[in-house]
C-alpha cells in the first residue's frame, strides 16, 4: 500500500502517490497466473490449425513453445528463472492428472487386466531399471564415456528413474491415437502402477549412494525389497481408506450441494499428501482413491455436482499437463545444467528402447499363457513404442542432491534429452505407426442396450459355469465382489435413493431414452416450434417469429446446452428458469412433464424410474405388448395424429374419456390369441395402428377392466386392418388429407388430460420426427418418392384452431 511504502516520517519522504506500481507486491502470483495464461493461450493457438494438431501431439508443441519462451527469457535476462521445480511438480501439477486418471478409470477393464498391468508395472520396470543401469555401467567401464566419476550405484539410480513409463506422457499421446481399450489400459495402467517401483528404487538407490557403495549390506537389499511391498500396498490402502471416507462424506451432502465437488478434490488431495507424508507411493494412493470412490461418489452427488467435478477435474488435469510440458521446455534452457556427453546420451536412448522391447516381448510371451485375449505382435509393438518417459523422470532427476551425486548435471541433461525424444519423436510417429500397423482402434459405439444385457447375461453364465465346474475364476471373484458390494458396501456408502437406480443397464437405457428425447427437441427447435420452452435467461436472442423454421439458433437452444453436458444429462429445463436446486427426482419429474408435452415420451415405466407416483400394477400381461408396439413405430408419427379408420374413433373417444392414472396404454397390440388369423405365437406387429392423437404414448389410459373390451376392439381393428390390406393401410403419414377428420371426431377437450395440447406457437408447426432417428425406431419411408420429410410438413400445417388455447403446462 501506498502508506506502507512511505518511509515513516523521515525527512525526505516520498510524496503521496495516487497510483503506484506495486510490482513486487504481486510478483509471485502474477507470474504464476501469467504462465498459466500463456500456456492456455498457446493451446488455443495450436488448435487453430487442425492440420498441425492432427500430426503433432500437443505435448510436443508445448515443449517447443517452452523452449522458445525459455530462450526469450534467457536472452532477456541471462538467467534461467523459471524451472520446473520438483516440489511444484509433485505437489501441484501431478496430483490433478493422476486423480483425473483414477476417477475416470474404466474399472472393469482395469481390474480385468490387473494381472497383466501389474506384471508390466513391477517386473517390467525393475527389468528396465536394472538392465539400463547395468549396461550403462558396463559401457562406462569400457571407457567410451570418458571419465565420469560415477559408480555403479549412480548408474542404477539413473536407470531407475529413467526406466519408468510416465503417465502424463502416455495419456497425452495416447489420447490422440485412440488405440483399442485393452492396449490403452495396459500401457496406461502400467504407467500408473509403476510409481511404487520407481519410488522404491529411487529411494533405495539414493540412500545407497548416500551411504556409499561400500557400506551397502545384504540387509539393506532385503530392506529395499520389503519396502517395495510396504510402499505399494501402503499407498493403495491409504487411497482406499480415503476413498471410503469420501464416499461416506458424499452420502450426507444432500443439503450442501454447492460444495459437494469440493469434497472430492480435497479428500483426494489429502490422500495424496498423506501417502507422501508417510513416504508411501502417493500416485498409487490417489489413483486408487479415484478408482474406488468413483462409483459411490457418482451415485451420491447430484447431477450438477457430478458435471462440475468432471469438468473441473478435466480442466485441472489438462491445465497441469499443459504447464508441465511447457515448463519442461523452459527448464531445458538453462545452460548451467547442460553437460553434454554424446556417448552417454546416445547409449541411454538406445538402451531404454531396446530393453523395453525385450522386456515387453518376454513378458507378453509369459502372459499369453494365462491371458484370454492374447496380445499379438502388433500390440507388443505399440506397447514398446508407447513407453514414453516424461516429466516424472525429470522431476526425480531434479530432486537429486547435487552434493551426493556429482554427475547430477549429466543426468539432468540426459533425462531432458530422453524426455524430449520420447515425447516429440515417438509422439509424432506413433500415430502413423498405429495406422500403418492397423492396430485395432477403439470402437466408440453408442452403448447398445442389447450389448449391456447380453454382457450381463454372460457374466452370470460364466460365473455359473465356473461354479459348476468347480473352479475359482475371474467371474467367480467378480461375482463375489458384486455381491459384497451390493449387500454391504453400497448400503453404507450410497444414498438410499441412489441405490435404486444404479444399475448399469438402467443407465444405458436411461441414456438412450434421453438421447432420443434430445434429438427430438433439437429437431423441434430447429423448426422453431419448441422455442418457447426455453428459459428466458438463455434465450435473449430469440426472435419470436415462429412461423418459419429457424436454422440458426442452435447455440442458444436448450438441446445444444443439453448436448454440451456430455454424458450425464441434466434435463433441467425448468430449473434453468427458476434456478432452484431441486433434488434429482423432482427435477426429473418436472422435466419429464415438460417433455411430455411436446416430445416423444419414453415409455410409461420410464417415468416411474423418476417419479414417486404410485405405480398401479398392471395385472394384465397382454396390455404390456402395446409398450413394445408403441416404441416400435416411429414415434413422432403419432404426434401428427394417426388414424386407423373411421369406425374406431368412436370407441376411441369413449375410452379416452376415462380418467387417467398411471395406466399403460392399451395400444394397438394384438394380444395373443385374439386374432384368429394370426400365428398362435405372440406377435408384435408394426402396423401403423396408433391410437393416440396428439402425443404418443401417454394419453391412452385404459382401465384394466376395459382390457377385454379394449383387446376385443383392438382385435377388431386389427382384423379390419388385415382386411384392409388390400385397400391399403391407413397410414396417417401418407394419407394426409384425412387428418382433419380425426381431429373433428376427437375433440381434444374430451380427451384425457394427458393429451398433448400444443401451444399456439407449436401449432404453427409441429415438429416432425427427426430423420436421424434410426437407431431405435424403424424409419418409415414416405410413399412419395420425391418427398423428404421436410416437405411432408406440408399437410401438418393446417390450422389447429380447434385445439384449446391453453397449453397443458
Amino acid at each position: 500500500m501506498g502508506p506502507a511504502e512511505r518511509s515513516s516520517g523521515v525527512g525526505a519522504a516520498e510524496p503521496f502517490h495516487i497510483v503506484s506500481f506495486q510490482w513486487h507486491h504481486v510478483q509471485d502470483p502474477y507470474i504464476i497466473a501469467l504462465w498459466i495464461l500463456v500456456a492456455s493461450l498457446a493451446k488455443i493457438v495450436f488448435h487453430l490449425s487442425h492440420k498441425v494438431t492432427h500430426v503433432v501431439p500437443e505435448s510436443a508443441l508445448l515443449i517447443v513453445l517452452g523452449l522458445f519462451l525459455g530462450g526469450i527469457v534467457w536472452a532477456a535476462d541471462h538467467i534461467a528463472s523459471f524451472t520446473l521445480t520438483p516440489n511444484v511438480f509433485f505437489f501441484y501439477l501431478l496430483p490433478p492428472i493422476v486423480l483425473d486418471a483414477g476417477y475416470f478409470m474404466p474399472n472393469r477393464l482395469f481390474f480385468g487386466n490387473l494381472g497383466t498391468i501389474l506384471l508390466y508395472a513391477v517386473i517390467g520396470t525393475v527389468w528396465n531399471a536394472a538392465t539400463t543401469g547395468l549396461s550403462l555401467y558396463g559401457v562406462h567401464l569400457t571407457g567410451i564415456m570418458g571419465d565420469l566419476n560415477i559408480g555403479l550405484l549412480d548408474f542404477l539410480l539413473f536407470g531407475s528413474l529413467i526406466a519408468a513409463v510416465d503417465p502424463v506422457a502416455v495419456l497425452a499421446v495416447f489420447e490422440e491415437v485412440h488405440v483399442n481399450e485393452v492396449l490403452f489400459i495396459i500401457v496406461f495402467g502400467e504407467s500408473l502402477l509403476n510409481d511404487a517401483v520407481t519410488v522404491v528404487l529411487y529411494n533405495v538407490f539414493e540412500s545407497f549412494v548416500a551411504i556409499g557403495a561400500e557400506n551397502v549390506t545384504g540387509v539393506d537389499c532385503v530392506k529395499g525389497i520389503v519396502s517395495f511391498f510396504v510402499v505399494s500396498l501402503g499407498g493403495t490402502l491409504v487411497g482406499v481408506a480415503f476413498a471410503f471416507l469420501l464416499s461416506l462424506v458424499t452420502r450426507f451432502t444432500k443439503h450442501v450441494r454447492i460444495i459437494e465437488p469440493g469434497f472430492v478434490f480435497i479428500i483426494s488431495y489429502l490422500s495424496y499428501l498423506t501417502a507422501e507424508m508417510l513416504s508411501l507411493s502417493a500416485i498409487l494412493a490417489i489413483t486408487f482413491c479415484g478408482i474406488c470412490c468413483q462409483k459411490y461418489v457418482k451415485a451420491n452427488i447430484s447431477e450438477q455436482s457430478s458435471t462440475t467435478v468432471r469438468y473441473t477435474m478435466k480442466m485441472m488435469a489438462s491445465g497441469a499437463e499443459t504447464i508441465i510440458f511447457m515448463f519442461l521446455g523452459i527448464s531445458a534452457v538453462n545452460p548451467d545444467i547442460w553437460t553434454w556427453n554424446t556417448a552417454f546420451i546416445l547409449l541411454t536412448l538406445v538402451f531404454i528402447s531396446i530393453f523395453r522391447v525385450i522386456g515387453v516381448v518376454i513378458q507378453t510371451w509369459i502372459l499369453n499363457h494365462y491371458r484370454m485375449v492374447q496380445l499379438g505382435i502388433i500390440d507388443q509393438v505399440v506397447m514398446s513404442y508407447g513407453g514414453l518417459r516424461g516429466a516424472v523422470a525429470f522431476a526425480l532427476v531434479a530432486l537429486l542432491d547435487k552434493n551426493k551425486m556429482k554427475a547430477k548435471n549429466l543426468f539432468v541433461s540426459t533425462t531432458i534429452i530422453v524426455v524430449f525424444f520420447t515425447v516429440i519423436f515417438q509422439g509424432l510417429t506413433i500415430k502413423p505407426l498405429v495406422q500403418w500397423l492397423k492396430v485395432k482402434k477403439s470402437e466408440h459405439r453408442d452403448p447398445k442396450l442389447n450389448e449391456k444385457l447380453h454382457g450381463r447375461a454372460f457374466d452370470h453364465i460364466l460365473s455359473a459355469i465356473e461354479d459348476i465346474s468347480g473352479q475359482i475364476g475371474h467371474n467367480y471373484l467378480r461375482d463375489k465382489w458384486t455381491n459384497f458390494d451390493r449387500k454391504i458396501l453400497s448400503k453404507v456408502l450410497m444414498r438410499r435413493s441412489a441405490q435404486k437406480s444404479r444399475d448399469r443397464i438402467l443407465n444405458v437405457f436411461h441414456e438412450l431414452n434421453l438421447k432420443d428425447a434430445i434429438s427430438y427437441v433439437a429437431e423441434g427447435e430447429r423448426r422453431g416450434s419448441l422455442a418457447f420452452i426455453r428459459s428466458p435467461s438463455t434465450d435473449n436472442i430469440v426472435n419470436v417469429d415462429f412461423s418459419t423454421p429457424r436454422q440458426s439458433a442452435v447455440e442458444a437452444s436448450v438441446s445444444y446446452l443439453l448436448r454440451e453436458k456430455a454424458g450425464s444429462v441434466c434435463l433441467d429445463m425448468q430449473a434453468l428458469e427458476q434456478r432452484r436446486k431441486s433434488i434429482r427426482d423432482t427435477e426429473d419429474t418436472v422435466t419429464h412433464h415438460t417433455l411430455q408435452q411436446y416430445l416423444y415420451k419414453p415409455r410409461q415405466e420410464h417415468r416411474h424410474l423418476y417419479s414417486r407416483h404410485e405405480i398401479i400394477q398392471n395385472e394384465d400381461e397382454k396390455q404390456d405388448k402395446e409398450i413394445f408396439h408403441r416404441t416400435m413405430r416411429k414415434r413422432l408419427d403419432s404426434f401428427k395424429g394417426t388414424k386407423l379408420g373411421i369406425n374406431r374413433s368412436k370407441k376411441h373417444n369413449k375410452i379416452h374419456k376415462r380418467d387417467r392414472g398411471q395406466r399403460k396404454r392399451n395400444g394397438n397390440v394384438i394380444p395373443n390369441g385374439k386374432i384368429p388369423t394370426e400365428n398362435p405365437v405372440q406377435n408384435f406387429t408394426l402396423k401403423e395402428k396408433d391410437l393416440e392423437f396428439s402425443d404418443p404414448e401417454e394419453n391412452n389410459d385404459y382401465e384394466s377392466l376395459h382390457v377385454d373390451k379394449g383387446t376385443d376392439f383392438l382385435a377388431d381393428v386389427t382384423k379390419q386392418n388385415f382386411a384392409d390390406a388390400t385397400t391399403g393401410i391407413d397410414n396417417p403419414v401418407f394419407s394426409a388429407d384425412d387428418d382433419q377428420s380425426i381431429y373433428m371426431k376427437f375433440p381434444p377437450w374430451l380427451s384425457n388430460e394427458d393429451t398433448v395440447v400444443p401451444s399456439q406457437r407449436a401449432r404453427v408447426q409441429i415438429p416432425y420426427s427427426p430423420n436421424n432417428f434410426r437407431r431405435l425406431t424403424p424409419f418409415r419411408l414416405s410413399n412419395k418418392s420425391v418427398d423428404s420429410f421436410l416437405l411432408a410438413d406440408g399437410p401438418e400445417e393446417r390450422p389447429r384452431s380447434f385445439l384449446p388455447e391453453s397449453t397443458h403446462m
Binding site: 442389447n450 452370470h460 459348476i468 475359482i472 413394445f628 405365437v681 405372440q682
Partner: protein, 214 residues
C-alpha cells in the same frame, strides 16, 4: 469307470470330440463325480447342491441349458432328464477359450456354436425364435438380482432391447410388417461387431476345486 486302460481311450475320444486336453477332462470328470455323487449321470437336482449357484439370477436357465437336447447336439428336441459325462463335457466345451492357432473357418464355427448356445438359452420354448415375452423373461431374471428394480423397468428395458434388435436385424420395416421374434440369423447379425469369442469363455486352466459342494 472301468479300468484305466479303457479310461484313457475314452479320454482320448472325448478329447477329440470336445477339444479339451486330457488333463482338463480328468479334472472335469472328478468334478462330475462330485456333483453326481459318484453316479454315472446327473440330474437337475444335483445342481442344487452347488451353493454359489443359488445366487445366480439366471440359474434356472443355465441349469436348463445343460439338459437342453439341442445343446447336447442330439437331433431331438426337448429336455433330457439326465446327462452323462460326455454330455457334461459337451456343454462345457462351449466355453472353451479360442486357441491361437484356429483358422478362420473353425473360428467362425466356434463362434456360431457359442452363439447358438446363448440363443437356446434365451429361446425357452424351443421354437427357434426369441419372442418378446421370452426376452422379457430373460431380462427380468437378469435384473432380478437388484432388489430395487421394479418389474416395469425390466420390462421396458426388454422392450427397448427388442426394438434395437429389430432395427438391427430388419432395418427399416414396412408398416405392415410383422416382427415375430429374433431368429438365429438375426441373432448372429446382432452380434456381428462384437467378438463373442473373447467374452464367452471360462478359463479351464487352474482347476482347483473349491469346497465340496454338499
Amino acid at each position: 469307470m472301468g479300468s484305466s486302460h479303457s479310461m484313457s481311450e475314452e479320454i482320448q475320444e472325448l478329447a477329440e470330440k470336445t477339444g479339451f486336453t486330457s488333463e482338463q477332462i480328468e479334472h472335469l470328470h472328478r468334478r462330475f463325480k462330485q456333483l453326481s455323487g459318484d453316479q454315472p449321470t446327473i440330474r437337475k437336482e444335483h445342481f442344487d447342491n452347488i451353493p454359489d449357484l443359488e445366487f445366480n439370477p439366471i440359474r434356472s436357465k443355465i441349469v436348463h441349458a445343460f439338459f437342453d437336447k439341442r445343446n447336447l447336439r442330439q437331433e431331438s428336441d426337448g429336455l433330457a432328464d439326465e446327462i452323462n459325462f460326455e454330455d457334461f463335457l459337451t456343454i462345457m466345451s462351449y466355453f472353451r477359450p479360442i486357441e491361437m492357432n484356429m483358422d478362420e473357418e473353425r473360428l467362425d464355427h466356434f463362434r456360431k456354436e457359442k452363439l447358438k448356445f446363448l440363443f437356446h438359452m434365451y429361446d425357452s420354448d424351443h421354437d427357434g425364435k426369441i419372442t418378446l415375452q421370452e426376452y422379457r423373461n430373460v431380462v427380468e431374471e437378469l435384473l432380478s438380482g437388484n432388489p430395487h428394480l421394479e418389474k416395469e423397468s425390466a420390462r421396458s428395458i426388454a422392450d427397448g432391447a427388442m426394438m434395437e434388435a429389430a432395427s438391427i436385424c430388419v432395418g427399416q420395416m414396412e408398416p405392415d410388417q410383422v416382427y415375430e421374434g429374433i431368429t438365429f440369423e438375426d441373432f448372429l447379425k446382432m452380434w456381428q461387431g462384437i467378438d463373442i469369442e473373447t467374452k464367452m469363455h471360462v478359463r479351464f486352466l487352474n482347476m482347483e476345486t473349491i469346497a465340496q459342494c454338499h
